[in-house]
Subunit: 386 residues, 2 copies
DNA sequence: CCGGACCATGAAGGCGCTTTCAGAAAGCGC
DNA sequence: GCGCTTTCTGAAAGCGCCTTCATGGTCCGG
């Protein structure tokens, strides 16, 4: 569908004036020297193994064996093949390889909510490191928290015959979605695909890296009570996320153990802005203010901290604030945030290891529980007037 | 290819004891219900188009056409094929598709230094968003700043016949490396592959999103001079990174324009810790302290800020501090950092757009210049004693 | 010096799909 | 009703590679 060839090609030798595009960016073209044959728009075909074999004067089969080392090949032939491959710049076609060999390809799929979020970036970083060690390529997808998109991605990864699919981040408490996801995953697993997840527990019979959200939140609550707090509020996220539900429940349990009932729960988006808005909403409410606030994620806590500062609420003198996850940024803000630390990078490494490990007895899924540890930092202190 | 049915199925009803693993994590197995035929380790073959065609009672060719809509197919047949595909849970084999059609596959490769770094996470996020819109799958690789690994990844992406390869982040000023990279990229481009980069300019005749590092740093310098500063220091990164060289040079130029010579330049790693260490080193030196410090990236600036605080140096009262990039965290620290803002997400969207756009006249590579804008925040002020 | 065991090699058959190419069916004007 | 064009369908040829399978050659003991 290329334009009909002109008899004469006219390339204006024109160093484009800096045309100014919106947003303060500038687009220009620069001329580059080119090999004569590149000018013709005839995408030089890729070098195939066949060409290598011919160049080396051996059969296709031998060339394949020489390059992959599957079978012994006479040394001199192997040398010739290698040399030919080099000379021609041969790169095997991974698709053809995957198709021909039952071995499956060397790619794994990772689906998270948003790589831009430090929580996922941390886990993804761990996954990448582990993948690199095993010589695997990672296909990363961000769902931007849209459940349907997550399913669509699983489907795409299935089409790619990814060796494993990793689902990172809270699932959704939605029956229909769960069923759809299960319907997508089940045939994949049956066909030999591996699945592992981080932070999901409902209806998933797959290997899981499970942060102890509930216990962690409970422990945090206990620590905060110990500081002297009695009036609490929680900045919560979307209730359909299992992580949110667990942390909230855990926090409640922790308080209950000390005979305290949780006060207000304000709901916000699972982002910095969500935390900011929730905190403002909390302050706006006329009620007596809590002495301590727990944001279900650090990302939200950071937003909340900003909101408190803007409102002139001193942390921790007027109000204590705590989060969950221990993303890097919480150590940089001031005061640094008290939180429940999760080993994010390590979790990423674990989840891929779990997926790739030889499956245990058929039908058994493993659960790797990750205990969070409460880290008290400057954002929490004794309640005012104590 | 289904497993032979058993007469009787015996599934041990055994809830595995929780075996405790190192690192405060706990590994346990849980039993899951399984379809009888899943027990046999005979990875149920994938459903093929052939099966769908047979189920629908049409030829392979028709089934293909019906599903892809490449040619008109009688409505009732198309319906039957669709239904059969659905029923069987057919998912096309992307490898086979890629191999058969010259269309190439729908994946793009992205190589960055480290997704865990907020700078790259921001750009990656933009890439992912744009890719999602175009229904593309992204293969993401982190080099962890090892040049050779970058080349290896390009090679892997070539093997995958990725539609485009995006190189994100500063290149290395190293002749041998450049040559090797070029040798890898050139055949790829000749074969119709697209390449686009962010922040590279040496020896690359490819589409580029180029932040104006030099101009940005110069403008920052001018702004700082305007605040009254005369004594400057720079916390610099690995000199082989082009970005570092440009920002440093730009900052020098900006100062020179005001007749000022740059004082100390302390070199550190391109990380938070690198910035921290560099700042400490700067303070440790007996010299008269500069009144203003420029860290070549925000990530380093954040580390430097921590170091200054630890050393009891007040920012900006005792010393001003500025960074470059405007990653999200700099707005959260206190004081918030002065920096040169780059539209990271947008840059990610642009670089993929650039790569995917129909190539301009043969041999022309486009350069999209991104102007950074100086954002003065709390971390900079008038020099002490003024 | 011959037969069998062993090995490296080449020919050929897929892997699952797209896409010509040719043929059957249907619609049209004369 | 005939010949023509216009549609749509099915057969078959690959895409690039791996992997039996069979073959020719070599090495050994007998």
């Amino acid at each position: 569908m290329t334009a009909p060839a002109h008899g004469q090609e006219v390339v204006p030798k024109f160093r484009g004036p800096a045309t100014t595009a919106p947003l303060g960016v500038e687009l220009s073209e620069r001329e580059t020297p080119l090999h004569p044959d590149t000018r013709r728009r005839a995408p030089a075909a890729h070098v195939t193994l066949d060409a290598v074999a011919r160049e080396a004067g051996v059969s296709l089969a031998t060339a394949s064996r020489a390059l992959n080392g599957t079978t012994r090949v006479r040394d001199d032939l192997r040398g010739r093949v290698r040399a030919a491959a080099d000379l021609l710049g041969y790169i095997p076609n991974a698709h053809a390889q995957a198709l021909a060999s039952a071995e499956g390809n060397r790619t794994v799929g990772v689906i998270c909510h948003d790589v831009g979020d430090p929580y996922f970036a941390g886990i993804a970083s761990g996954v990448m490191r582990a993948a690199a060690e095993q010589d695997l390529l990672v296909m990363l997808a961000s769902t931007f928290r849209e459940p349907s998109r997550e399913i669509a991605y699983v489907s795409m990864l299935r089409a790619q015959r990814a060796r494993a699919i990793l689902l990172i981040g809270s699932g959704f408490q939605d029956r229909a979605w769960e069923r759809a996801m299960d319907a997508e995953l089940e045939p994949y697993v049956r066909a030999g695909g591996r699945v592992a997840v981080v932070s999901r527990h409902r209806s998933m019979r797959v290997d899981t890296v499970q942060p102890e959200n509930r216990a962690g939140a409970a422990a945090l609550a206990a620590s905060l009570v110990e500081l002297g707090h009695r009036d609490f509020a929680v900045l919560s996220g979307p209730p359909e996320l299992t992580t949110v539900a667990d942390r909230l429940a855990g926090f409640r349990e922790g308080l209950a153990a000390a005979g305290i009932t949780l006060g207000r729960v304000v709901r916000g988006a699972f982002t910095r802005e969500g935390g900011h808005a929730a905190a403002r909403q909390l302050l706006a409410a006329g009620d007596a203010r809590p002495t301590c606030v727990f944001a279900v994620t650090d990302v939200m806590a950071v937003g909340a901290l900003a909101a408190l500062r803007e409102a002139g609420v001193r942390v921790p003198e007027d109000m204590s604030l705590a989060g969950f996850d221990d993303i890097p940024v919480v150590r940089e803000v001031s005061p640094p945030l008290t939180t429940v630390a999760l080993p994010l990078t390590e979790m990423g490494e674990q989840v891929i290891a779990l997926a790739l490990r030889t499956p245990s007895r058929a039908g058994r899924s493993r659960v790797l529980r990750i205990e969070g540890s409460v880290v008290l930092r400057g954002s929490t202190g004794a309640p005012p007037g104590s």
